[in-house]
Subunit: 222 residues, 2 copies
């Protein structure tokens, strides 16, 4: 196999401690929102998992650094998504804000003690974790496809999560996409270009994608 570079170090800060309880119906998270700036670390691999996070705005990436120095992005979390559940004993990945992001933060211990007396909460916690498991399984499936299908799959998934319209905003860089898809940055770029040439998408700006031909994309996704 082949390898390239590592990545630059990032800033870091503790979130202010969570505010008093004020739950809402569907277990929305309880806390003062905290803002993380671009590239700021939310938590690091190996740290004790104190909090669970819900994205209010912005975009978060989780990643791990492989033994050969490459970075594998495990997931992108968009507004509404919850992350930090993967931890058992310690965080198995690191998390960073891709752009300036607001997060709600809740102590795990609080979640657990609520869950202790509340079967609905218990179920909800399990459901969240299981959903995360499914996301990871889908990621594996994505990684088994060819480069074109990976990129297309990524775009379709993002479109669905972001707004379901055909106009996608990419908060992340090409390198982030490459590290998520297990491709080189060049292949990601080339593939996007080819999709544009094929009139399947348009790229008005680097960080914006318009899905022009869904059915073409869907079949490329196979």
């Amino acid at each position: 196999m082949q390898v390239r570079e590592a990545h630059a170090p990032k800033g870091r800060r503790q979130p202010s401690s969570p505010a008093p309880l004020s739950a809402d119906g569907t277990l929305d998270l309880i806390s003062a929102p905290t803002t993380f700036s671009r590239n700021e670390e939310v938590f690091g691999e190996g740290e004790p998992p104190i909090y669970i996070y819900k994205v209010k705005s912005g975009c978060i990436r989780t990643y791990s650094t492989l033994s050969d120095g490459r970075r594998q992005i495990g997931a992108f979390y968009l507004p509404g998504d919850i992350f930090g559940l993967e931890a058992r004993g310690e965080h198995s990945v690191s998390a960073e804000a891709i752009v300036s992001s607001r997060l709600r933060v809740v102590k795990k211990t609080m979640m657990m003690s609520i869950a202790a007396g509340d079967i609905a909460m218990t179920r909800h916690l399990l459901d969240l974790t299981t959903a995360e498991l499914h996301r990871t399984q889908s990621h594996i499936v994505l990684l088994l496809k060819g480069a074109k299908a990976r990129v297309v799959g990524f775009l379709l998934e993002l479109a669905e999560r972001e707004n379901s319209r055909s106009d996608i905003d990419l908060p992340m860089s090409r390198q982030d996409i490459a590290d998520y898809l297990g491709l080189s940055i060049e292949t990601v770029s080339r593939t996007l270009s080819r999709l544009e040439t094929a009139a399947a998408i348009a790229l008005p700006t680097t960080r914006r994608v318009v899905l022009l031909d869904r059915s073409k994309l869907e079949e490329m996704n196979a």
Copy 2:
């Protein structure tokens, strides 16, 4: 990308309904053990998830069939392992016995109602699911490596899970290994041969591997 074949259909049977409760300390599963024969389906993708399973003997594979017909094996479960947790609403994968296997079977509803009044059980269920999540994450990491490292990583993991000694018994076929590692069967075979030539392993029989040089293997694993 490139593709080859699909796989043969398998037998199928309902497990007998689980026996009355008789818990044990660490949430060992509660039920009459059920036997599944070679290639028999334990549950199928899309089915409602009724049970959770614990392997008493044998080996189980979970897999999903990709849109192009390939089969991706998500995990191998060995004695002591618990599976069937990935389901939320319906099973996201299928499960089959690789060899004749005995399983303990517990109703999910039972687990949930126990968990409702028992925070230790709640935590345990979450831990099991989180462990599954970690396994999936490791699998992703494995899939990003080169063929040699994938095979080596697979062998080392199996050795650790099976008996920690250097003598591995492979319950699964080369095709199973290939479908787990995202490689062609030829590449798996070739890679094993090369490892043998390099005196890193020995292959006394097809289904047996002896780890001869751990340190060499460890460094190939990088």
